[in-house]
């Protein structure tokens, strides 16, 4: 009882004497309301849609079907392909971006001269609109007049075939475009991370006679683990979201080899107009996003506390 009164008193003092909610609450409220209004509705609407058969192309056939969409989702071979393509795409892109990012960041961090200038130059790709990245990609990898294609041909590679038309080159091209655009971000992340590494372990290692390589593997990388983690999460979330460059290049072909889940949803919702089923697939993506968000928050909040 006494403790409760104390806490209330403490709270009251903080509020400057009033018993109502603090000013900060009102500062937060507008943003919360706006976000609630525009995010809760889609969420509940998608859930409702996923329980309906909703072909916008045939309004008379709309009806409630319960979990039929969900059952179909788990039996659908195509959806499995989409997820597999997405995993391949994200997995390879992430690996390359992280490895390349760390390497370049470490290199950059050791340069005295021009570090600022070089970093500034390197981050330019980040500002490209995805639609532009897709179109430029389509241009430079064009079978007939693409400059990268010409480069490959001059090395004797990929002749007599179509880069965007062959499954084992189409996805790599899209991955390379993503790597081109977003590795700079990973580099920036690691640069910042490297700057904040403590000096002590290194000094101790030098005294012990360790080589640069050993220091890299035994000290730098382990210390960078949280930074790697941040880069992974940030990139994963965006890799799932963006689909425009797929739309303007392969549109999912050839033979569904570049059909990521977002394109699958796009085709289902905006070409076939099966809104119910599209909502179901969307919810699975949302589910994944929520898990990732959860992980990120836990990490971030705990890092804050630390």
């Amino acid at each position: 009882m006494v403790r409760n009164r104390e806490t209330n008193l403490g709270k009251t003092l903080q509020n400057g004497g009033s018993k109502g909610p603090p000013v900060e609450f009102y500062m937060v409220l507008p943003a919360l309301v706006i976000i609630a209004a525009i995010s809760l509705f889609p969420f509940f609407y998608l859930i409702w849609l996923s329980l309906m058969k909703y072909p916008m192309i045939q309004m008379s056939a709309i009806k409630f079907v319960g979990f039929r969409n969900w059952i179909r989702l788990f039996q659908d071979e195509n959806i499995r392909t989409y997820w597999w393509v997405t995993v391949k795409y994200a997995g390879i892109a992430l690996s390359v971006e992280i490895i390349l990012g760390i390497t370049v960041a470490i290199f950059l961090s050791k340069i005295r001269l021009f570090q600022e200038l070089l970093t500034t130059i390197i981050i330019a790709p980040l500002f490209f609109a995805p639609v532009l990245v897709g179109l430029i990609g389509r241009f430079i990898y064009h079978d007939s007049y693409g400059i990268y294609t010409h480069f490959f041909h001059s090395l004797g590679l990929f002749r007599e075939m179509s880069l965007f038309g062959t499954p084992h080159t189409a996805l790599p091209i899209l991955i390379s475009l993503d790597v081109w655009e977003w590795t700079p971000l990973v580099i920036l992340i690691f640069l910042a991370g490297l700057k904040s590494l403590p000096q002590a372990p290194y000094e101790a290692a030098v005294v012990d006679g360790a080589t640069e390589w050993k220091m890299l593997w035994k000290i730098t990388l382990p210390l960078l683990k949280p930074v790697i983690f941040v880069a992974l999460i940030i990139r994963t979330m965006d890799l799932l979201r963006y689909y425009t460059k797929f739309l303007v290049t392969t549109r999912g072909g050839p033979a569904n080899s570049t059909k990521i889940v977002s394109i699958g949803i796009y085709d289902m919702a905006f070409q076939a107009y099966r809104m119910g089923y599209a909502a179901t697939i969307t919810l699975t993506m949302l589910f994944l996003t929520i898990i990732l968000g959860n992980v990120f928050v836990k990490f971030f909040v705990s890092a804050q506390e630390a």
């Binding site: 525009i38 995010s39 500002f127 400059i147 303007v248 809104m275 969307t282 928050v297």
Partner: protein, 284 residues
């Protein structure tokens, strides 16, 4: 002992030099690979179409503004630029205004469920665009907003506002409370302390967040193509329209691409400092 370590150091020096050289070469390749598409886009924009497709490619050529002229004639860039600015700019303003307020509140205030709110912000920011197009469309339809600017602005706010809230909170977290507390002791209300003391001090953060919000909205295609029509189309939509039934008008694509890229590139490079914090949600 000394000789051994000297030898070791000299050997290490040689290896280091070889390693360094290789490192520089690889780095140069990386740099080239990063810049080349940008260079190629800019130079193609200045080439007349027929020269864009020659193999082997033309490295030296006489620059021409014909693509730009054709683009202007075919499209009338003014409207698209205007629409892009309005849509991106307005949503940025909304995001910054409400985001700063909320970020400050979350940072300083004792609000329960912070973790939940944080989680909610990040999930909203990361929701797959293609999935929310339909629900938002329904919403906008109900209010007769489709094809009008407000619908696009609101759509952009769905990802910019949570983003801004989250980031501003991170920036305010970094700001020590002493200054505000000093001001409040002097009789300032909390709100005033926010406006007069805290806000000015996170200005670089605000600039970074504003730039990023603007960029995400400016570069968006998914929402823009659905929620706009004739008079309200934005630059990315215009770029996609260059994929005509006759083939892609590459010269104009490159020119439009340059126009699309330049503003955000320039601003972004200027505010490089806080960019990382921005793009990593303050985690780094």
């Amino acid at each position: 002992m000394a000789t051994t370590s000297e030898r070791t150091m000299r050997f290490a020096g040689k290896r280091a030099l070889a390693g360094r050289t290789i490192g520089w070469i690889l780095f140069a390749i990386f740099l080239l690979w990063t810049i080349f598409p940008i260079y190629w886009m800019l130079s193609s924009a200045l080439k007349i179409e027929v020269n864009m497709f020659t193999i082997p490619p033309q490295w030296l050529f006489k620059p021409s503004l014909r693509n730009f002229k054709n683009l202007q004639e075919a499209f009338g860039l003014g409207t698209y630029v205007k629409n892009s600015i309005i849509a991106a700019g307005s949503s940025t303003v909304i995001a910054i205004v409400f985001g700063s307020l909320a970020g400050y509140g979350l940072s300083r205030g004792k609000i329960p469920g912070k973790s939940t709110i944080a989680f909610w912000m990040i999930t909203t920011r990361m929701a797959p665009i293609v999935g929310v197009i339909l629900p938002l469309y329904i919403l906008f339809k109900a209010f007769h907003l489709v094809g009008k600017m407000p619908s696009l602005i609101i759509a952009y706010t769905t990802f910019n506002l949570p983003f801004a809230v989250w980031l501003m909170k991170a920036f305010f977290d970094d700001l020590p409370r002493e200054m505000e507390e000093a001001a409040m002791v002097d009789g300032c209300s909390k709100l005033r302390a926010f406006f007069v003391v805290a806000l000015p001090m996170v200005r670089p953060g605000i600039v970074a967040v504003a730039t990023l919000c603007f960029m995400f909205a400016w570069n968006d295609y998914g929402f823009a193509v659905v929620f706009t029509s004739g008079a309200t189309q934005t630059l990315p939509v215009a770029t996609a329209r260059l994929m005509t039934e006759f083939g892609i008008v590459w010269g104009q694509v490159m020119t439009l691409g340059t126009i699309l890229l330049s503003p955000v590139l320039i601003i972004g490079l200027l505010i490089r400092k806080n960019l990382v914090r921005g793009l990593t949600f303050g985690a780094v």
